[in-house]
Symmetry: C2
Subunit: 509 residues, 2 copies
Amino acid sequence: MEQTPAPVWSVDPRTGERREQVATEATPRAVDEAVRAAHAARGALSDATVRAAFLRTAATLLDEDAARVVETADAETALGPVRLTGELARTTGQLRAFADAVDEGSYLDVRIDRADPSLSPPRPDLRRYKVPLGVSAVYAASNFPLAFSVPGGDTASALAAGCPVVVKAHPGHPATSELCASLLRRAAALAGLPAGVLAVVHGFGAGLELIGHPLVAAAGFTGSVRGGRALFDAAAARPVPIPFHGELGSLNPVVVTPAAAAERAGEIGRGLAGSVTLGVGQFCVKPGLVLVPEGPDGDRLTGALAEALGGTGPGVLLDRRIRENFLAGVGERAALPGVAAPVAAGPGGEHSVGAGYLSVAAGRLLTGGAYDLLLEECFGPVTVVVRYADPGEAASVLGRLPGNLSATLQLSAAEAEGAGGPAAELIRQVTEVAGRVVVNGWPTGVVVAPAQHHGGPYPAATSHSTSVGGAAIERWLRPVAYQSVPDALLPVELREANPRGLPRRVTGK
Amino acid sequence: MEQTPAPVWSVDPRTGERREQVATEATPRAVDEAVRAAHAARGALSDATVRAAFLRTAATLLDEDAARVVETADAETALGPVRLTGELARTTGQLRAFADAVDEGSYLDVRIDRADPSLSPPRPDLRRYKVPLGVSAVYAASNFPLAFSVPGGDTASALAAGCPVVVKAHPGHPATSELCASLLRRAAALAGLPAGVLAVVHGFGAGLELIGHPLVAAAGFTGSVRGGRALFDAAAARPVPIPFHGELGSLNPVVVTPAAAAERAGEIGRGLAGSVTLGVGQFCVKPGLVLVPEGPDGDRLTGALAEALGGTGPGVLLDRRIRENFLAGVGERAALPGVAAPVAAGPGGEHSVGAGYLSVAAGRLLTGGAYDLLLEECFGPVTVVVRYADPGEAASVLGRLPGNLSATLQLSAAEAEGAGGPAAELIRQVTEVAGRVVVNGWPTGVVVAPAQHHGGPYPAATSHSTSVGGAAIERWLRPVAYQSVPDALLPVELREANPRGLPRRVTGK
């Protein structure tokens, strides 16, 4: 006898009240059906023109229904209409950018080496491009109910690559997930594609079923270290392991040089407060550890930080579990001997939290043990200011950091101008532990652009691909070479006449 | 008290006798020292000009010492001077090709998006390229003592990427490994590089130490499914998982259409025998499963195969363990009910084996159970001929295959000319299960070329990269983006003036 599937509720984080029952958790059978339907839809996605049209129509439908999408997402996430309107624009922009990438075709990395019998050994005709991996599982994030959820970058890039997608919805915004899925499926129908190209499943168990399903060929994930690592392990332990592109956690260190603190203490303190509290601190690239020099310039910086944080009203976190984890995480860190809480992050009202920061001397971080907790991400509006005595101590702290999505340097005007010297060495040091290096800016605000990289050494990411920007499409593809295959039998992308006008590298050029 | 390290012997497979003691197995401490020395050498490898010179000098030194290298390798592997001379040329050609790739620089995938404040949201200056991962562990193969061993493709591509390498030597050719390592280290010294850029360790335990070492950042492997999977699992289970690029096993299916059999039965049978026995069947891409139509044309094909195999003299396998596994593997398969051995592979002399083939009706392969053994690679000079009644039955067998490095189609002249139709459908089917598709040729002979792909769905490979051809360099790199970094502080590869003249994609173009 099967159990009755558990109901999936949409909850208002501003009140903690249930809004509506959106769905039920997917049973193993329902997951299997979704994956099989997706698998059957692979052939339909093989036409690049159809895929591009599908992605553009999806963007159009999302834009046309913007009011409802933003209202639904706001009711479930409390992120506010301004932020969500911007996030929707980012999301539809991503869908269109991937449609353009499909048309342009350089992601196929077409390479052609024509036969050359004069070589030793003689070379046969070889032509290589990339083919889609198959059904892709996408695990949606809590903090971007659109841009890293059902219609987000993983879905858009996988569909662009020609991979049907089954999304494991985040429990924090099930109604938004279902609404977006219905719009994407409508777009699929308008493009002449079967509904199976995109499915949404709900529930923790469904997520585990999905990663173990033999027809699932790849996975993308944005979330916590604990959840992501469990899924990564499951993906690796399969009889046939699959790539797991997970974004798990990041401290996003900031280094403020003494010269920068002397020059711009107030500006840096205020900028830091803005970056830490943006979206109530719920960004993967929130600066979570800030190396500030000891002494009066550093004190001015923390003074400005304290003032700006104090002027920030309480904010509502995405859901109750995240709020509980935030309060527990701050409490645990503040309880460490030598850790001060000059502006205490904590409960705002019954459903909100106030922003704050912790402060600790760099030496503590070099002792390991309980202080390693300070080297773990604490999701929400808090950051850890680490006061260092000299550049050597700052470098020692950097050397203890796990991998990060970003690392930020605050440099003086002179340091930013000068090649060589301490700034160049800092760039080298943080490159070792980060996927993106920012100078005199803030890591929040990850623009969608061809040169973007949103990833980094573990646990920032479990693979070396990016989840933002054009290169994200690479995670859903594998190369295939064709040797001595007659032109008429070649995939159209590899034919001598190049009917699609694709960029190609011929004999390595 | 530490145990005395076990001696490592060079053994002549033609006689089974020990030639000399080459080294001792590496203790955990020795592995740690090798990895630390490699880690310390990373900075020295950061100069592209030096790396390219190193690789070219290594090629020169190997070529200059060709007689000794070939003689040593032959004495340990019995592969013969002709084959080994060719393999050495391939190996030094690879080293030079990767030096050229370093100079050319497109592997860095430089992308530049200049700042554009007119966009919404405004875009900061973003520049992305790829940086080396760090110390790379290379697990050498038995069957290519040069091209997939110490001086082989994994080592060459990792060094080209800027990664120091620690090779876990294959026990079948330790003297060749030490000789090549000494030449590579001499080349390093001539290029002004520390010896730590390349180390060789011996022993099973050393291989496990290596994959678990915190400073090892990536691994390449060519070998068996069992050994490769154990290392893959260890790489994934680390506190910080690392990419494991393993080539584990491949059946390399061949499909002979009825029309091709009617047209070229004798030629195909003889060609198959040649491909199966090349290098005494010890190629990763040896055709191990051949779909041949039932009926007289297929009978003529197997007749020609039998005649050609019967005319092949016994061959010496790489080492005793491989010989034992081959004989056991053939015996186990031949013992399955319904499996015939028209030409029985088996012991040749005391140290050699004779080539042969097994035959089975396609229907048996569709029953699963014990017959799944026929879907596993059997390393050595044997292949399994599967007789099929109709295209549907052949397609069903293809649908049961695990992933492969290659798949080969033997088509008639008319089928090879015609788009659409059964040949196009066969191309589609085998693309699903292979990394390289060959038409009217044989999979053995993997040329080194930019468009080559030597990989494929699991267990052919554990990642979607290639171990042969220019793209192999990608396995040792990760992207990093630089945001708003002043020109003087940027890595030279990303500076506006482009002093190295690197190919770059600016604003996606």
